[in-house]
């Protein structure tokens, strides 16, 4: 039964929908998004998917190559490492630390950073104005360096590393959110709403937020790839998540002692890390492009 439209109803898509529409049009963007979503799904399900315990050592299968190599064994799809631990299980569970943990860290830091940034963006007292340049300048200090400082103060260890990276990501969110909100604030449509007597909260949530969402989503992807790189690099240097936890960066670091005996133990975590970061970067890049197209149109 056809639905009857009593009134002529013009579809006015939200800015996010507009961006999504142009995002969807590109094959590569969609492919990257699917890869990323699939990875996240796998990471969430990894405790169920992992065939073995990550620390279970099979003394009859030490340094076994992946199953597609002739001397491999189907039982260990990606082979085993030098202690006889299943690579597939370690990669899967490792995703919890290398991808899951960064997602969590980005979520927390974005929540904090965006709230502060939004407040800073609408609260434009003169004092703040003059300080803003200074903050911008200080924000140029890389997050990796900040994470290192925090680790130097607190010491290494799972909690400290997670805390350090989360903290080091916050400033970028503040920065981006404030600038985005600030930019919108002076646009005519906001001024109009303001003259209409809308409250600040209403302005922020109903008027400005929809328009800055794509920018913020883009910053989320940037931060996510930074977080993944940072945690992997820290673990690689031995300052992050410590072995035997199967974090990809630390797996890579410890695999170096056996590159020639079991090259796959170095290649696999690297490739996984590479694909993950690339998928995120492509998603972020495509978002930026879609955003630009929306602005241009």
């Amino acid at each position: 039964m056809p639905q009857i439209n009593l009134y002529h109803h013009d579809e006015t898509p939200s800015p996010l929908q507009l961006v999504w529409k142009s995002y969807r049009a590109r094959f590569l963007s969609m492919a990257a998004l699917y890869v990323l979503l699939a990875m996240i799904l796998v990471v969430i399900l990894s405790p169920l998917l992992a065939p073995f315990n990550t620390s279970a050592q099979f003394s009859d299968a030490i340094a076994l190559p992946p199953s597609w190599v002739e001397s491999g064994n189907m039982k260990y799809l990606f082979g085993t490492d030098d202690l006889g631990r299943d690579m597939l299980s370690r990669l899967l569970i490792g995703g919890l630390y290398s991808l899951g943990l960064p997602i969590l860290m980005v979520a927390v830091s974005s929540l904090i950073g965006m709230s502060i940034g939004a407040l800073a963006g609408i609260d434009r007292t003169i004092k703040y104005q003059s300080l803003s340049r200074l903050f911008d300048t200080l924000l140029s200090i890389p997050s990796f360096l900040m994470a290192l400082i925090i680790i130097a103060i607190l010491g290494t260890g799972f909690n400290n590393v997670a805390f350090a990276i989360t903290l080091s990501l916050i400033p970028q969110f503040i920065f981006v959110t404030r600038n985005a909100v600030h930019e919108e604030w002076h646009k005519d449509y906001v001024t109009a709403s303001r003259l209409n007597g809308c409250s600040k909260a209403y302005l922020l949530y109903r008027v400005i937020l929809p328009n800055v969402t794509p920018t913020l989503v883009m910053q989320l992807t940037v931060s996510l790839s930074v977080a993944i790189m940072d945690i992997a690099a820290l673990s690689f240097l031995g300052l992050g998540i410590q072995a035997p936890t199967p974090e990809w960066g630390s797996m890579l670091a410890r695999s170096l002692d056996e590159v020639y005996l079991s090259p796959w133990s170095m290649v696999l975590p690297g490739v996984t890390l590479f694909i993950t970061i690339m998928a995120i970067n492509i998603v972020g890049d495509s978002l930026r492009r879609a955003l630009k197209e929306r602005v241009n149109s």
Binding site: S55, A243, E258, Y260
Partner: protein, 541 residues
């Protein structure tokens, strides 16, 4: 993609160019050797430490001892002392010094005289005599206090310019062996005097002067130590002009540097990896060396003060698996702390079997059904343990099976040892290699009450009965009697289990074939005294 980078690099390489030239190596490369050591030395005076890294970097290169131990002939041979004699029923040793022994001439010190009895007296008094001006410079002398040498020697007497007497409190069969170790070196008294006047006494350990085959040039922490040949060395010296220690803590990097030719010799190679690489110009040498790696329990901490817990944990560890995965089979399972090559070795009835069931039962007996412990794992490779962290990982899963959860702790090496000495650990994976051929060297430095204070006793285990056994064993020279005493000691150790012996490892060294004359003495550090480098042309034949 890699290919694309390769193109960029090819261009870059072309720009640099000439790097692959077949010309002979420039002179500085042809008459120098680079040894890629595994860590920074703590000091340049081996009297002050027991760490293998420091001994390797200093003892045999910068200094000489009164006597040396020749492992091939299994006897003591003259060094700075051209001969010696035993007087007064073995309580007085007289050493006749060699004439014409020159000290190093460097930018910071120019010797005006040759070696005399005064230098020997000064060197010994530094660690022996608490009233000596230099005794407190540099702090403690762990080797001498752990072996009890500082208690054993009554005084060092200068008879004349070239004769010196060492007077003992009682006869001791391990005395000469301890004298031939890397630690009993001879310093320059003249240099010490000069520094005292300049009010920089601590410089004696950082800018060293000795009589050894090499003299000190420079040191940059984490980067290198530079030595050059001592031109007036008193016996046959090296065939090279320069010796550089390139400090490379990472085992993998060390091996790759050997392959690229950046290192001439490396200690603790990843043997199996090197074999997989199969490079013609490299060779791996090994030496059976008296060493042991063990897992020590901090017996001054709950619950490790209970022997039952220590036994339980010992039964939980699958040491066979460790030998296979960590040592790639290049080691022997340790039943006793003493290696099987020692004449006092006896493993009858003291074997710990891998038995998780029994371990669990023992734990329950000790009222600990679940435990949280830390395993401290050395951050560096050692002869006795090529990879302590990985070993700790293996043990972690063994322990999980009996309901013990273990956390692995590791720090940078110097920090690690400092914290160990403070007794912050629950358990630690560490080991020992012998400084001399006497079995006593495995017991007193490691498990005596005296060694608790000096930090050598990683189990912090002080057992008076055990101490008595050790002291009676060195008081006698009768081998049968000593053997019986050491047997009792080993049995007592087995009951008390302050530590679990894990493996006796073979000692490896990998090098370019063009290098020769670098010895791996079974006792003590690496020795470059006779090192030579063959020119490249010969090497290619």
């Amino acid at each position: 993609m890699i290919k694309a980078y390769a193109n960029v690099a090819v261009i870059a390489a072309a720009l640099v160019s000439g790097c692959q030239s077949e010309e002979p190596e420039p002179a500085p490369l042809a008459d120098g050797i680079i040894y890629c050591s595994e860590g920074n030395p703590d000091t340049f005076n081996p009297q002050l430490i027991t760490s293998g890294t420091t001994v390797d970097a200093t003892a045999a290169q910068l200094y000489d001892r009164l006597i040396d131990y020749d492992a091939k002939q299994q006897k003591f041979v003259p060094a700075l002392a051209k001969r010696w004699e035993t007087l007064d029923n073995g309580t007085r040793y007289r050493f006749y010094l060699r004439e014409g022994v020159q000290f190093h001439k460097t930018d910071y010190f120019e010797p005006t005289r040759e070696l005399t009895a005064e230098d020997v007296q000064f060197s010994f008094n530094r660690w022996l005599d608490e009233t000596s001006l230099y005794h407190h410079v540099g702090g403690s002398y762990p080797f001498f206090s752990a072996t009890g040498l500082d208690q054993l020697i009554n005084k060092v007497v200068k008879i004349d310019e070239m004769t010196v007497d060492i007077v003992l409190n009682n006869a001791d069969s391990s005395f000469l062996a301890n004298l031939a170790t890397d630690f009993a070196i001879v310093l320059s008294a003249e240099y010490a005097q000069k520094l005292l006047v300049a009010e920089r006494p601590e410089q004696i350990d950082s800018l060293p002067i000795g009589t050894g085959p090499y003299r000190f040039e420079s040191y940059r922490k984490d980067i290198l130590i530079r030595y050059s040949r001592h031109p007036d060395y008193w016996r046959e010296g090296p065939g090279i002009k320069h010796l550089v220690y390139s400090i490379t803590p990472n085992a993998n990097k060390r091996m790759l540097k050997l392959v690229t030719g950046e290192c001439d010799i490396i200690p603790y190679p990843l043997v199996s990896e090197l074999k997989a690489l199969n490079r013609e110009q490299l060779m791996v040498t090994n030496e059976v060396s008296p060493n042991v790696s063990f897992w020590a329990f901090n017996t001054q901490k709950e619950p490790f003060d209970d022997p039952l817990v220590r036994q339980a944990l010992s039964h939980a560890i699958n040491r066979e698996a460790i030998i296979q995965t960590i040592y790639y089979g290049n080691a022997e399972l340790a039943q006793s702390i003493l290696p099987p090559t020692s004449w006092a070795y006896d493993d009858r009835g003291i074997q710990y079997q891998y038995d998780p069931e029994k371990a669990r039962r023992l734990l329950q007996e000790a009222d600990h059904s679940s435990l949280d412990i830390t395993i401290w794992a050395m951050p560096v490779q050692r002869v006795y343990n090529p990879n302590a962290r990985r070993m700790a990982e293996l043990m972690q899963s063994d322990l999980a099976q009996i309901g013990v959860s273990a956390r692995i702790v590791s720090y940078e090496w110097n920090t690690f040892r400092r914290r160990l000495s403070r007794g912050e650990h629950d358990t630690v994976l560490i080991g020992w290699y012998a400084d001399n051929a006497d079995p006593d060297n495995f017991f007193r430095p490691l498990l005596s009450c005296a060694a608790v204070a000096t930090g050598g006793n990683r189990a912090n285990w002080c057992h008076t009965g055990f101490d008595q056994l050790l002291y009676s064993a060195i008081a006698t020279t009768n081998p049968e009697e000593r053997k019986a005493l050491y047997r009792s000691a080993q049995h007592l150790l087995n009951q008390q289990q302050p530590l679990l012996p894990i493996a006796h490892s073979k000692r490896f060294q990998a090098q370019q074939k063009s290098i020769s004359g670098v010895e791996l003495p079974p006792y003590g550090g690496i020795n470059f005294r006779l090192a030579t480098k063959k020119p490249v042309q010969e090497q290619s034949q």
